[in-house]
């Protein structure tokens, strides 16, 4: 298993590969000290690696940012995507990101298993001890990524 810096690099690579591949979006880290405000408007997804060890990846977008991203994905330039479209796209982003991440952190060529993604509105409940990082997409805030490795085999 990687150390915290190794996990950060793997999460960032997974996010970058997914967002560039699906949405032609560029990911950059936020300034150090950036702290998201949980009382703001957020949309989140969680994907879990179930096997060979347990880990959870949380993907939390500001509502403004995910709305813009999904509008681009769906080619909806004259109308705002519906809430169910936003959450479906967010779940698919999490699913794809989780797969890339698992290939980076699961040792060797071992098989792994992913959960179906959960999604929701507002700020998600995350366990204590989760590692987290903040990013901008196309220079707009804010994407919060958090990873909890719950049980290592």
């Amino acid at each position: 298993m990687r150390d915290k810096d190794g996990l950060r690099d793997a999460v960032m690579q997974a996010a970058r590969e997914t967002l560039e591949g699906m949405a032609f979006a560029e990911l950059t880290p936020c300034e150090p000290g950036t702290v998201p405000d949980p009382s703001g408007e957020w949309r989140w997804a969680r994907i879990m690696i179930m096997r060979p060890f347990a880990a959870s990846l949380y993907i939390v977008f500001s509502k403004v940012l995910i709305t813009r991203l999904v509008a681009g994905l769906l080619g909806k330039f004259d109308e705002e995507p519906a809430e169910d479209e936003i959450l479906d796209a967010l779940g698919e982003l999490a699913n794809t990101m989780g797969g890339v991440l698992a290939r980076l952190i699961v040792p060797g060529q071992s098989a792994f298993e992913l959960s179906l993604p959960d999604t929701g509105s507002s700020w998600p409940d995350m366990p204590a001890g989760v590692h987290s990082w903040n990013y901008m997409i196309n220079e707009e805030p804010l994407l919060h990524l958090a990873l909890m490795v719950e049980k290592e085999e």
Binding site: L74, E92, N95, G99, R103
Partner: protein
């Protein structure tokens, strides 16, 4: 008319796959049929002849691996080539799916050139069916 079934529980993923197929230029005049899981895909395959099944693995009700096993086991359906597009793909899993009978296994995120290349490979191997 040719018919392709696209099975994925995410509307976004189905739309993305559909867009990649359309950009390839190889599906002009082909009917693209959406299915939200393996059960719906199997029903669509039984409704009318299909020329290709494109499926995700991680789906509720019936997942892609179960769907592939059902297609391969069916004398009526086992000529339909299967393209798997999934995020839950490791070397070991890919080898297993190919051994089960999948023609191609692609990793998400997919891109139009990757899908086009896979489709060309399948069409090349099924020239009689695709004309």
């Amino acid at each position: 008319m040719k018919r392709i079934i696209i099975a994925d529980d995410s509307v976004t993923a189905r739309m993305f796959t559909r867009r990649c197929l359309e950009i390839s230029g190889l599906t002009d005049g082909v009917e693209l049929v959406d299915a939200a899981n393996g059960v719906e895909a199997l029903a669509a395959l039984r409704d009318a002849p299909a020329d290709l099944l494109v499926t995700d693995l991680n789906m509720p009700e019936m997942d892609g691996e179960q769907l592939l096993a059902r297609v391969i086991a069916s004398p009526k359906l086992n000529r339909v080539p299967v393209m798997v597009i999934t995020s839950a793909d490791s070397e070991a899993r890919s080898e297993k799916l190919l051994a089960m009978g999948a023609k191609v296994v692609l990793r998400k995120p997919i891109s139009p050139p990757v899908v086009a290349e896979a489709l060309e490979k399948i069409i090349g191997a099924h020239k009689e069916e695709w004309g």
